[in-house]
């Protein structure tokens, strides 16, 4: 591991060189001294579920010795909605609105994951324009999700200005999303075998303008954070995880890459033609909060690159179909359904009976902003899945929170929790 070029004396190290937690006694509570009344007594603190720094309804019970965390016990499930159970009672296309509400900071990418899973199960090849549109949806989601992460994590650590700047940018990309899907959260953008809609007029110009100006705004945030003494002090060496441990904890996404594991589903198990795009995957080295920040920041620049390339391809595919040419899967246009007998029958069959999938099972993982989002379908040949499983990236990433918090200070728990980038809608499902 190379030493950092930028290291601040303010840092509150939580791990020593061998990776063992260091306890730092602060204040009156001396440590391990049985004579000391305050020091001998562990303290139990409850954070959440209604606490702004837990990013939703997460509850942490923290055992403290002085100001050092001995143990952290997370409690989840406050937002459990039984999505997976509901999915067993719905047609494949009817599940798509449920995925909006899982990771509600990147609904479009969730829609794409579900559609890809169902298509893998049914053996459907989507059209080229649809592929490019889905790449745009995924990368827009990545920017939206990371930019919210950046702003709110700044707030958690006391930086208010970047939050205003990032949310200004977020508003611009949300306007584009709204123009395309008609919604800010409940996008339901994809359909099995295609898309709900093509991009509207003016969308491409708007997204190009965003891609041109967004990196400049990111540069400004970079100026505020990357060499900021307080930011470095609060994040460097805090909540660090080695590469071997990150793999053992099944982490994925920026959490895994910040620890130095070169794994990105887009590169290593390419889907949607990601292998034909030119982009880099940032890898961290120290696995601490600072590296997670650097990885996510760089991913936004890379997403902008992918978006620009996708826009070029989209212009070449102007007028190409977005849906597969298969009336069993794709609804006929409404005008034809009202005038053409056959189209009406197909419309009726699809709405009433759904699209049957052949008996079998399929797992499809995509690189979501939070990590690897998986859709696992098991079908018995009917139009409704026997089992619909979401592999929730933030659920699995959060599971290592007790390990990350061991030996950290209480105030670092907030920073570590923020660095995991959790969305409770996905964790509790």
């Amino acid at each position: 591991m190379t030493p950092r070029t930028l290291e601040m004396a303010l840092s509150t190290p939580s791990l020593d060189r061998e990776g063992r937690p260091i306890s730092i006694p602060l204040g009156v509570a001396g440590r391990g001294d049985p004579e000391d009344e305050f020091g001998a007594e562990p303290m139990l603190i409850n954070i959440g579920p209604q606490h702004p720094a837990t990013h939703g309804v997460l509850r942490l019970v923290v055992e403290l010795e002085g100001e050092t965390v001995v143990r952290c016990i997370p409690h989840i499930g406050y937002l459990h909605s039984g999505f997976e159970k509901l999915g067993e009672y719905r047609h494949y296309n009817q599940i798509i609105p449920l995925t909006d509400r899982t990771d509600y900071l990147s609904p479009m990418a969730n829609n794409v994951c579900l559609a890809l899973g169902a298509e893998k199960l049914m053996g459907i090849e989507i059209t080229e324009r649809c592929t490019v549109l889905r790449v745009i949806a995924c990368e827009m989601s990545r920017i939206i999700s990371h930019i919210v992460w950046l702003g709110t994590t700044g707030i958690d650590l006391g930086a208010y200005t970047p939050f205003l700047w990032t949310f200004y940018e977020r508003e611009r990309i949300y306007n584009l999303q709204e123009a395309w899907t008609g919604a800010r959260l409940t996008t339901s953008l994809t359909r099995v075998g295609g898309m709900m809609a093509d991009v509207p007029d003016g969308f491409e110009a708007g997204l190009r303008e965003f891609c041109r100006t967004f990196p400049k705004s990111l540069d400004e945030v970079d100026t505020l954070f990357t060499r900021n003494g307080i930011w470095c002090g609060r994040t460097q060496g805090v909540g660090a995880l080695s590469a071997a441990e990150a793999i053992n904890y099944s982490l994925s996404g920026p959490m895994l890459r910040a620890s130095g594991v070169d794994y990105d589903v887009r590169k290593d198990r390419p889907y949607l033609g990601y292998d034909s795009y030119d982009f880099d995957v940032p890898i961290g080295e120290h696995g601490d909060i600072y590296d997670r920040y650097r990885v996510r920041l760089e991913e936004m620049y890379q997403s902008t690159r992918i978006l620009e390339q996708a826009l070029d391809r989209l212009a070449k595919l102007k007028g190409a179909p977005i849906n597969v040419d298969d009336p069993r899967v794709i609804l006929p246009p409404k005008s034809r359904a009202m005038s053409d007998m056959e189209a009406m029958i197909f419309h009726f069959k699809q709405v009433m009976e759904g699209v049957p999938a052949p008996a079998g099972e399929a797992y499809m993982g995509i690189e979501n902003p939070k990590g690897e989002l998986g859709t696992y379908f098991v079908s018995d040949g009917t139009a409704k899945p026997v089992r619909w499983r979401i592999r929730p990236p933030s659920f699995i990433n959060l599971a290592c929170l007790p390990r990350l918090c061991e030996g950290a200070l209480l105030s670092d728990v907030i920073a570590i929790n923020a660095s995991v980038d959790i969305v409770m809608g996905e964790i509790d499902r």
């Binding site: 016990i73 159970k85 099944s250 399929a362 499983r389 592999r391």
Partner: protein
């Protein structure tokens, strides 16, 4: 090395414990005997040439056909070889649903196995902290993702409301957490004894 050669190597090493294998939608799936599942998973993780070092997911499937066994599903991945393998353990529903835990192999299995226990009622032998995770500890209606569990739950809406109102709002801490706090000394004797025996769960 492709997943197919992993299947051949598994068959050579474990023989009859490998019940069957299949390729579906491009994914390789193997069914293994529950009694050997942990050995097989450890073998797949550590054997050179296999190195399935990344546990992508743990879940379970309950089929609509009540005769069909419930299946616990492990999605394995080798990060170095970029290969996936799905391992399934069929569990006969007439016997207690039990498999060996793999938390000691992959720490990431901790919460995933707790979720399978919560949602399907499969007990993982050797799991250090097997309690409900998405539902609350006193949840009495059963395991929601089982097919014999109705969509709206076993209890009526009135019963669910009654139970919610009757719940003791103070009982939000587990015994384990109370043991840390000074409240431990104020616990009733029987609860302290349950705690001393290593029992987990909420104070009723």
């Amino acid at each position: 090395m492709s997943p197919a050669s992993s299947v051949a190597a598994l068959r050579a090493a474990f023989g009859p414990a490998l019940l069957r294998d299949r390729v579906t939608c491009g994914d390789t799936v193997v069914w293994v005997d529950a009694s050997r599942s942990r050995d097989i998973l450890a073998w797949l993780k550590d054997t050179p040439g296999q190195e399935f070092n990344y546990l992508t997911d743990v879940t379970a499937v309950d089929y609509r056909d009540p005769e069909r066994p419930l299946e616990v599903v492990y999605q394995l991945r080798s990060l170095a070889r970029r290969t996936d393998l799905r391992l399934k353990i069929p569990l006969d529903k007439s016997a207690p649903l039990e498999v060996d835990s793999v938390v000691d192999l992959w720490k990431g299995a901790d919460w995933l196995e707790r979720e399978v226990f919560d949602m399907f009622g499969v007990r993982f032998r050797g799991h250090p902290d097997l309690r409900r995770i998405l539902m609350w500890d006193t949840y009495a209606e059963g395991h929601p993702l089982r097919k014999d569990f109705p969509l709206r739950g076993h209890f009526t809406r009135a019963e669910q409301t009654r139970q919610a109102l009757a719940a003791n709002p103070e009982a939000h801490y587990s015994i384990e957490e109370l043991s840390i706090a000074e409240a431990f000394d104020e616990l009733p004797e029987d609860v302290r004894q349950r705690l001393a025996k290593g029992e987990r769960g909420y104070v009723k």
